[in-house]
């Protein structure tokens, strides 16, 4: 049984069909990188997986159970599905530590002392244990995204979603975040990433998904897809991202 099973998803905003018959299985421990042009439905796909957007047709099963539509049941499922967003959205009025302990203490009823230990542990995984008492405004964009990863990890999720988390960063800060992602992938975390970092996708992903016009256009091991794209769309996309100035 796959950890996550998407079957025939459809999502439309008005008459605009953003997701069209999307099916995808993600096995436990698998790293799936989703690529595609902007507007191809990648971000919407991720947002549907943790219920931030409601699908119009199809089904989402997480650990064999259908993803609830909302309310407390959806929150229960979300405890196991972490997400990190493109925008820098740490809570600016809380310290790094409180950003991370908030979920465990409020949602999971973990005692504060134990939550603090979780926070420290999560910060170690992103190499930021020295920023425990800093506030988000005192951190660089790359550091903020790493704290956001730690915030999600402290919930001890079984699936992690990453929505273009390096896209809002200055180029020199991308590397430190990608390094953390690679380490996390090696640790066996199940991950679905929407990304524009083709080098990272090629090195780290088990499965590459190319989305086009709201559909899964091509899917397979990254090396194969990069070496021999079957469709013209993927071929031109790869050419465009690898040689952006031509």
């Amino acid at each position: 049984m796959p950890l996550l099973a998407l079957a025939n998803l459809r999502k439309q905003f008005g008459t605009n069909r953003v997701l069209d018959d999307v099916s995808l299985d993600v096995e436990a421990g698998e790293v799936v990188a989703v690529i595609g042009r902007s507007g191809s439905g990648k971000t919407t796909l991720l947002r549907c997986i943790n219920g931030l957007e409601r699908i119009d047709a199809g089904s989402i099963h997480f650990e064999g159970k259908p993803l609830p539509l909302g309310g407390a049941a959806l929150r229960e499922a979300r405890r196991h599905i972490g997400i990190v967003f493109q925008s820098l959205n740490l809570f600016p009025h809380h310290s790094v530590e409180r950003n991370i302990t908030l979920g465990p203490t409020v949602t999971n009823d973990v005692p504060l002392a134990q939550a603090k230990a979780l926070a420290l542990d999560a910060l170690r995984q992103v190499d930021l244990e020295d920023k425990l008492h800093a506030y988000p405004a005192q951190l660089s964009g790359g550091q903020q995204q790493r704290v956001a990863i730690a915030r999600a990890l402290a919930m001890q999720p079984r699936l992690m979603l990453f929505d273009e988390i390096t896209s809002a960063l200055d180029p020199e800060l991308v590397g430190e975040v990608v390094k953390v992602l690679e380490r996390l992938a090696k640790s066996g975390m199940t991950m679905v990433l929407v990304t524009h970092e083709m080098g990272f996708a090629r090195r780290t992903a088990d499965t590459l998904v190319f989305m086009h016009k709201g559909r899964v256009w091509e899917k397979g091991p990254p090396r194969e897809l990069f070496a021999a794209p079957k469709t013209r769309e993927l071929e031109s996309f790869i050419r465009a991202v690898l040689e952006p100035n031509d």
Partner: protein, 223 residues
């Protein structure tokens, strides 16, 4: 027979100033509770709640406080069938009035918090109440401090209208003193100064509060 403005007259004004303060505090606290409720209704996902709240706010903001005061005064009298004291009427009127304005100020502050903050809170996954309590309201509060203090200053000065239905607060007390001393150019400047002494420190306090919060967040400081 007239008498001069003397120490005892001044003490009389100070005594009445107390009622200006008490009325302002009640209106602010009661209006604060109502205003928070209205702000949450205005920003809730339920259309009916939004509709009720904006209707209330529109009505109260679109009518003069004086009318609201008269309505509360005569309305309470008609409803209870008694000739009522101005006290309950002025507290009711100013509380309802403050609720509308605070509700609108705080709605703006809540809506100024980026959608991404709600989503980040929903992702960890806080309940809607916990999202408000831990993430949205603390940030909205920072934004709301200056306009809230601005409104409280208006509220304090606005309570002078209560004098019209015979509620003896600072302004009404001043009129009474003027009636016996015939010295308006002594009495009214003193009253103006007393209002100023109430309102000015509030503005200063708000500024300090803002700076303290900014400092705690590590923002707004010169590099």
């Amino acid at each position: 027979m007239s008498r001069d403005f003397d120490w005892s007259a001044f003490l009389f004004l100070l005594g009445a100033l107390r009622w200006t303060v008490v009325l302002s505090i009640i209106a602010f606290v009661g209006g604060g509770v109502g205003g928070l409720l209205l702000a949450l209704m205005r920003t809730s996902p339920y259309r009916t709640l939004r509709w009720i709240a904006s209707g209330y706010i529109g009505l109260l903001q679109g009518t003069p406080v004086l009318m609201q005061l008269f309505l509360a005064y005569y309305g309470l009298a008609v409803l209870t069938g008694l000739r009522i004291d101005p006290w309950p009427a002025v507290t009711l009127a100013f509380t309802l009035y403050a609720a509308a304005f605070l509700g609108e100020i705080w709605r703006g502050a809540i809506q100024a918090i980026p959608r991404q903050q709600w989503e980040a809170a929903a992702a960890i996954p806080l309940s809607p109440f916990a999202q408000l309590r831990h993430v949205i309201l603390p940030q909205a509060m920072r934004i709301a401090i200056p306009p809230t203090v601005g409104f409280v200053v208006q509220l304090i000065k606005g309570t002078s209208i209560a004098s019209i239905i015979g509620f003896v607060e600072l302004t009404r007390a001043g009129q009474l003193i003027v009636n016996v001393t015939f010295q308006p150019m002594i009495v009214y400047p003193i009253i103006a100064l007393l209002y100023f002494a109430l309102c000015w420190p509030l503005s200063l306090l708000a500024l300090r509060l803002e700076r303290r919060i900014d400092a705690a967040l590590g923002i707004g400081q010169p590099a």
